[in-house]
C-alpha cells in the first residue's frame, strides 16, 4: 500500500487527523473566548462584534458568508475529530478483550483518562449551546443579533449557568491532555523544550476555560445584567 494510504488507515494516521482537527478546534475556542469578552464592554460592543462576524470580508463576501466558511470548517473538523476518536477508541478497546483485575495508574493523568467521555460531554454541550445562543430555541427570550440580552437571559437561569461552568471544566481537561498529546502525535518534541509542553497545555486550557467562564459567572453573581 502506498505511504499516503497508510496514513489514513493506520492508527497513528488517525491520531494525526485527530490532532490536526483538534488544533482547528483549539484555535476556534480561543478566538470565540476572546470575542465573548466584548460582553464586558456592554450590549452595544458585543452586538457590533456579532454583526462584524457576519459582515467581515465585505464587499468581497456577502452578509454572513465569512461566518459560514468558518462554520463549515468547524463542522468538518468536529466530524473528522469525532470519527477518528471513535475509531481509535474502538481499536484500543478490541486490543484488550480480557481485562486485568487491577491495573495501577502511575504516569497517566485524570485528563488523559477522561478524554473520551469528556469529548462526548463537550459535544452534548455544543448542541445545547447552539440551541440556546445561536438558534435560540432553548433560550427563554431570544433576540437575534443581541447576544448580550440572550446571554443574560440564558445565564439568569442558574442551572444553565452552572452546567456551562461544568462543561468548561471538562473542556479545560480535554484541552490540557489534548494539547500535550497533540505535541506527541505530531512529533513536536525537542529535548530542550519538552519540559514546557505540559505547562503550555495547562496555561492554554485554563486561559480559554476561564475566559469563557467569566461570562456566566459574572451574570450569575449579578455583576452584569
Amino acid at each position: 500500500m502506498s505511504s499516503t494510504q497508510s496514513l489514513t488507515r493506520s492508527l497513528i494516521g488517525r491520531k494525526v487527523l485527530m490532532a490536526v482537527t483538534g488544533v482547528v478546534l483549539l484555535l476556534f475556542v480561543l478566538a470565540h473566548m476572546a470575542g465573548n469578552l466584548h460582553f464586558f464592554e456592554g450590549p452595544k460592543a458585543i452586538a457590533d462584534y456579532a454583526l462584524f462576524l457576519r459582515t467581515v470580508g465585505a464587499p468581497v463576501l456577502g452578509y454572513g458568508q465569512a461566518l459560514w466558511i468558518v462554520r463549515i470548517v468547524l463542522i468538518v473538523s468536529v466530524l473528522v475529530h469525532i470519527w477518528a476518536a471513535w475509531s481509535v477508541t474502538r481499536a484500543s478497546r478490541a486490543a484488550r478483550p480480557v481485562g486485568y483485575k487491577q491495573l495501577e495508574k502511575v504516569e497517566t493523568t485524570y485528563a488523559a483518562r477522561t478524554m473520551r467521555w469528556g469529548g462526548v460531554i463537550i459535544f452534548a454541550f455544543v448542541v445545547f449551546h447552539l440551541l440556546d445562543l445561536t438558534f435560540g430555541s432553548a433560550n427563554p427570550s431570544y433576540v437575534h443579533l443581541d447576544p448580550y440580552h440572550n446571554m443574560v437571559a440564558s445565564f439568569g437561569r442558574w442551572p444553565v449557568a452552572v452546567s456551562y461552568l461544568i462543561a468548561m471544566g471538562v473542556l479545560c481537561l480535554h484541552m490540557y491532555h489534548g494539547i500535550y498529546s497533540g505535541f506527541q502525535t505530531l512529533g513536536l518534541n525537542h529535548p530542550r523544550y519538552n519540559r514546557f509542553r505540559r505547562g503550555l497545555a495547562g496555561a492554554y486550557a485554563i486561559i480559554v476555560a476561564a475566559g469563557f467562564a467569566a461570562v456566566p459567572v459574572s451574570i450569575l453573581a449579578g455583576w452584569m445584567r
Binding site: S6, V16, S92, A112, L186, G187
Partner: protein
C-alpha cells in the same frame, strides 16, 4: 516473611482461568520474585500439584523472558526493574500479592502466566533491521557516528522486548516498543537508507497484529524496565509523518520499500 499470593491459573488458551490463592509462610526478603514462584512451585510439587507455568531465562533483567503483572504493575512496584530482579524487600510481611499475565489481544495466553509475544518478532521481521549482508561492511570507523547520536540510539536499543509497555498501556498499544526500534536504527547513519520504508512497514505490522492506539498516557515508560522514554514515540510519529505526508524521494530512506 509471609506472603499471600493470588496467581492466575489457566490450563490453556481455551480453558477458563481464575485466581488461585496460595500462602508462602517463610520467604526470605533477599530472594527475587521469580525465586518466590520457584519456592511456591516446589511446595506445589511436594503436594503433587502442577506447578505454575511462567516464562523466565536469564534472571538478570536482560533477556526479556519474564514478565507478570504484580498488584497491577507490570514487573511489579520497583521502577526500572524486571520481575526477575525484583526482590521481596519491596514487599511487606503478610502482604497480599495479585499475579496476572500480560493481557492483550496481540499476546494470546498460552498457559497460566505464559503468553505468546511472537507479534513483536513479526514487527521486527517486517522492517526492524538494517540490511547489511554478511561480508559487505566497510571498515567500522569509515562511518563516523557523533557520540550524542550513538548514545541516544543506545538508550532506545536497550529495549529487551519484554512487552511490559503493552501490558501497562490502557490501550494495549505497542508504540513504545516500535518507537524504540525505529529510533535506534533511525538515529544511526547506517540506518538512513531504509529509514522511511522501515517506519511505514513496522507501523502497519503493529496495527495488523492488533495492538491498540497510543493516546499518550505514558504508562509504558513507567513500566519499562529499561526506562525507554516516550520522547521516542514523538520521534516515531515524526518519522512516520515524514514518510507518509512528505515522502522523501526514492533512495532517500526508501530502499526496500514495498
Amino acid at each position: 516473611m509471609k506472603l499471600v499470593l493470588h496467581v492466575w491459573r489457566q490450563a490453556g488458551p481455551q480453558a477458563k482461568g481464575d485466581f488461585v490463592r496460595y500462602e508462602v509462610p517463610d520467604a526470605s526478603p533477599d530472594i527475587s520474585f521469580l525465586e518466590l514462584l520457584d519456592l511456591l512451585n516446589e511446595s506445589l510439587i511436594a503436594r503433587r500439584m502442577e506447578p505454575i507455568a511462567f516464562d523466565h531465562d536469564c534472571r538478570e533483567g536482560i533477556c526479556g523472558s519474564c514478565g507478570v503483572v504484580i498488584n497491577g504493575r507490570p514487573h511489579g512496584p520497583q521502577r526500572h526493574t524486571t520481575a526477575c530482579q525484583l526482590h521481596l524487600r519491596s514487599f511487606q510481611d503478610g502482604q497480599e500479592i495479585w499475579v496476572e499475565p500480560w493481557r492483550a489481544k496481540a499476546f494470546p495466553l498460552v498457559k497460566d502466566l505464559v503468553v505468546d509475544r511472537s507479534a513483536f518478532d513479526r514487527v521486527i521481521q517486517s522492517g526492524g533491521f538494517i540490511t547489511a549482508r554478511t561480508g559487505s561492511a566497510p571498515d567500522a570507523n569509515a562511518v563516523l557516528v557523533p557520540k550524542r547520536d550513538s548514545d541516544l540510539a543506545m538508550d532506545a536499543a536497550q529495549c529487551i522486548g519484554c512487552g511490559a509497555c503493552v501490558a501497562a498501556c490502557p490501550n494495549a498499544s505497542a508504540t513504545l516498543f516500535v518507537a524504540a526500534k525505529v529510533s535506534h536504527l533511525g538515529l544511526l547513519p547506517q540506518g538512513q537508507p531504509e529509514r522511511y520504508s522501515r517506519v511505514v512497514k513496522m507501523v502497519e505490522t503493529m496495527d495488523a497484529e492488533g495492538f491498540g492506539a497510543c493516546t499518550n498516557h505514558g504508562e509504558c515508560m513507567a513500566a519499562c524496565p529499561k526506562g525507554i522514554s516516550v520522547d521516542f514515540i514523538a520521534r516515531l510519529n515524526r518519522d512516520y509523518l515524514k514518510a507518509t505526508l512528505a515522502p522523501p524521494p526514492e533512495g532517500a530512506g526508501w530502499s526496500g520499500a514495498a
